[in-house]
Symmetry: C2
Subunit: 313 residues, 2 copies
């Protein structure tokens, strides 16, 4: 398989991207060919120094970069030679099987929607985050910011997408689904949560266990937690800030270390026709390496096909 | 002044309530008379053992208790001799100046709305929580669960109520107000946040500083952070769970200790005609003591009058 990597995206690109490529290649992955998209002049010395196996990668030159704060649609239109634009061109035309970037998130979303597009039947593609649990691995929370206003049926699709991700990527055979809410019993919550609960309860493909509250996010009460993207984004950024606080205050605790976003690397866009992985702007080598591994897993698990199949049931 | 305290409310009542009374009285408050509402037979031995100054309190007998999981309206109707029902009767009739309970939160809210009622002009009374900041004191977040669905004008009133609370109770002369959102710039967020931003910006009584994100909640970016009660409640319970995790994992860190809800004690209901303080169900002695001090401060600062005055401006 061929994985495309935006070498210019993120605060520490291209150096950390090259480092991540090196870690990935040295971890022994055999059948992955990396397509490194970036400024050849900037990449050449870094790649030479890294002494990589040249049969394992190729470079595709891009002469432009979309900045982290640029307007997504405008930037994509005005910079067709940017690494993100080229990445989506290659993905759309089958030259790569997955595309990864830690660059401008908005541009990645817009690029995704305009090129490979949402799977037919998916109303709202979504992004998720892994949430560290005190004791046992990671849970999945979605949506975390792409869909700030949602309808009940959107949350139901997030639950289906999250369940498939949990099953095929996180290896939970029968993932439990919880609805993020502000009370335990059915009938609690805002209008959205009240309307969503019965739909989740009746859904034949979901292992719905009821409401979960803010206090349950970091427990193993549910493998997949669904909410609209406003609350999800607040939770995500709050969790990140708690990790930053722990680092700043030298709190040396194994669980707190699990909040480190380098561990996850990035999140796939769920509900679109090909694997796209969006990384955190502050991604470093380990995050890049983990995003490549994640892209590989998403491709090999045929997650996109599983999602398509779930829609015709 | 006379402060009424529900001695039967909370998971550790009445023992911890008595202990809290003792700590409060021994801290040297002079002009407060406590009205302890509870089962006389249960209280008598505990009060005798505590050896309190008997001039400083009186006991009002209540023969019923509203359980933590009872339906609020039903329980208030069926248990007129409960400590909560009696507390509101005393408050409504001017026998006490403030009422405190760590019991059934729903019953406390319903009791508040049906007896002392919302201040004229306040659409939605609200409850808040103090959020510990890494470095400098506490911020204020509201609403934290009473108002799960809000309109923009509700959030504006929360901002006014929170600012007055911050000014008169937390001693911030000109408290800054932030809108909890999922992006920094105006125009970001869900429909509610987008519609609320310009109203906050134009409000003459508010020191509005713009959007704050999940990562800013535990910083001093804003003294008062407003959001609807769904997101606020998720944030509150998530923060509590992080403190519980720190305790469980023996993380000994000064900042993490600031998350301890015993420190706050409880939250006043903002926007109603008399001081009502609602405590956490797991309140112990220090929390009860702090709630009494808070009730005293709310009464002495004439916060309710300041809120009324702000509405006629």
């Amino acid at each position: 398989m061929r994985i495309g990597l935006d070498m210019m995206g993120g605060d520490f690109a291209p150096l950390e991207a090259v480092k991540g490529v090196k870690v990935f290649l040295e971890s022994g992955a055999t059948d992955v060919h990396l397509v490194l998209i970036g400024d050849e002049a900037a990449l050449a010395p870094l790649l030479a120094e890294a002494q990589l196996d040249q049969s394992k990668y190729s470079v595709v030159h891009s002469s432009q970069v979309i900045g982290m704060d640029e307007h997504p649609t405008k930037a994509l239109k005005e910079k067709p030679q940017s690494s993100i634009s080229i990445g989506f061109y290659l993905l759309q035309n089958g030259k790569i099987d997955a595309f990864i970037s830690a660059g401008n998130t908005g541009a990645m979303m817009v690029g995704t929607f305009y090129t490979i597009k949402a799977i037919e039947g998916i109303q709202r593609p979504t992004i998720s985050t892994l949430v560290p649990r005190d004791g046992s691995g990671y849970g999945l929370l979605l949506d975390v910011g792409i869909n700030a206003d949602c309808k009940p049926e959107n949350l139901v699709q997030f639950a289906v997408l999250g369940s498939l991700y949990s099953k095929h990527i996180l290896n939970n055979p029968n993932p439990t689904v919880g609805l993020l809410n502000i009370g335990e019993e059915e009938g609690k919550g805002n209008l959205l949560a009240q309307a969503t609960y019965p739909l989740l309860k009746e859904h034949p493909q979901l292992n719905f266990i009821g409401n979960v509250e803010g206090r349950d996010i970091f427990t193993n009460k549910a493998d997949v937690i669904v909410c609209e993207g406003f609350t999800g984004n607040v939770v995500l950024k709050m969790a990140e800030s708690i990790h930053d606080m722990a680092v700043r205050r030298h709190i040396d605790d194994e669980y707190m270390h699990k909040f480190d976003h380098e561990t996850f690397g990035g999140t796939p866009v769920l509900g679109v026709n090909k694997p796209v992985i969006i990384g955190h702007g502050i991604a470093k080598a380990v995050a890049f390496k983990n995003m490549i591994s994640l892209a590989q897993k998403v491709h090999e698990s045929k997650l996109v096909d599983k999602i398509r199949e779930s829609l015709v049931k």
